[in-house]
Amino acid sequence: MSYAIETHELQYRAGKTFELGPLNLRVPAGAIYGFLGPNGSGKTTTIRLCLGLLRAGRGGVRVLGHDVPSQAPEMFARVGYVPERPHLYPTLTVREALALHGAFHRRWDPAAAADLLDTFRLEGDTRIGRLSKGETGKLLMLLALAQRPDLLVLDEPTDGLDPVVRRDVLMALIDFVSESGATVFISSHLVHELERICDWVGVMDRGRLVAEVPMHSFKNGIKRLRVRNAPAQAGDPPFVLLARERGDGASGTEVWVVRGWQPTMRQYFEGIGAVLQDVVDLDLEEGFVELLRTARVPGGA
């Protein structure tokens, strides 16, 4: 498998409180990779390290085969980036921003830019400083898409946008990916949003990558089990027991959150004298929350 982004033992330290890594991130080429994590988990820092906007303390980064930061200009010719905070020149009009961006990007597609301007209902003569948050978000996405990149790096691109704008932006993204087959690396803490579009997921927590798996295995692997008469010691279960909580009332029912569940594992409960009452699928958000909860327990996940 080839990777659009590959980090090797990447480490970074900001002050005395925040430390990131060692991070071994691998974003498969052609994937839509959702980069999840709570606020402050290190998503933006990781993105900035991957793009050479921050200097790593240790380790290396390769993006589309280019070493970062030494080959950053070559890399940026093929990467569209939407940062978390708007970075465009506020005195320029939308049209001027397009002209400036187009002048630097050889693969700039003026026709696609004009189409997206129309789709996003942006006025060419409006100054960037006067755009609303939603309009700025759409302009950033327009610039990234119209440069026809091989890799899109989107840092919370829909954060703070209303549902209509968010839908417009995601639709444009999906259209572009289906046409071009580009890789997308999208960070967000809006789990439901990523669930719909991503085929890979990486989860960050406190500067560590706690999971990196295909979306289907992430969604299917974590289950909530309702177990009656479970013994105090779970023994050696064939799955990963992420959490174990007492259920409601005095019925002796417990709720187990497990990873790596298979239907054939039911017989394990018979072996320990317990009764498996129910198996509940967790959606991505619940799985994400459970994963983080477990990752924060010493020795967990």
């Binding site: 050479g52 020149y89 002048a103 630097f104 050889r106």
Partner: protein
């Protein structure tokens, strides 16, 4: 790329440039009028006094050149500073190339103001009927103005390109030097540190010598 950068830099500085160009045009006219060279009757001319006035008003040229350099340098970097340089750093060009584009665009924008100064000199000095022995220096002052603005621009561009910490370090260095000189003078030791530094910077072949040279548009 260069045209695109020139356009945004022009937009960032156009108001200030228009004002400076107008002032640049006015200074030679003002000089000639203040000195009294525009008066028709030569009999009452006090040439020494008049030339002193020309010299005095000529100091407006380096002031204007410094302001022009400062304005262009700050205009070149202010938008990038606001966006924490993220946009510039994510463009597919090496950093040195981007800096060169920015620098070149600013240099180009010195031209319209220098042209305005030249035009002002041409208008003010062109029709003067000067006594024998006096000459006009419109072309030389215009060229000196362009060079002074370039030097001022280059210095402030380099300073403005850095972080606030860099600017603070440079200022702190200067302040330390002055404080040290004052302390040494208090104790009766006079190493003339400030004087030496000023000489090194402003006297030939110092980098800012162009600012303190002759600026009179009329002389002998």
């Amino acid at each position: 790329m260069f045209a695109a950068i020139c356009r945004i830099q022009w937009k960032a500085s156009v108001t200030a440039l228009a004002l400076l160009a107008a002032l640049g045009f006015m200074v030679p006219l003002l000089t000639v009028q203040q000195a009294g060279f525009s008066a028709g009757d030569r009999r009452g001319w006090d040439l020494i006094g008049m030339l002193s006035t020309v010299e005095a008003t000529g100091t407006l040229f380096p002031v204007l050149a410094v302001i022009l350099g400062l304005t262009l340098a700050v205009g070149a970097w202010s938008a990038d500073h606001q966006g924490e340089h993220v946009y510039a750093l994510t463009l597919p060009v090496p950093r040195w190339h981007y800096v060169l584009l920015r620098f070149g665009a600013g240099l180009l924008l010195i031209v319209p103001v220098a042209v305005a100064v030249g035009a002002g000199c041409a208008v003010a000095l062109g029709s003067l009927d000067l006594p024998t022995g006096l000459r006009t220096y419109g072309g030389a002052v215009t060229l000196r103005f362009a060079l002074a603005a370039t030097v001022s621009y280059a210095a402030t561009f380099a300073l403005a390109a850095g972080t606030k910490r860099t600017a603070a370090a440079v200022l702190a260095g200067l302040m330390t030097l002055i404080a040290l000189a004052l302390i040494l003078e208090t104790f009766g030791v006079s190493p003339a540190v400030v004087e030496r530094v000023m000489n090194a910077v402003f006297a030939r072949p110092g980098p800012f010598e162009v600012l303190v040279g002759p600026w009179a548009v009329i002389g002998v």
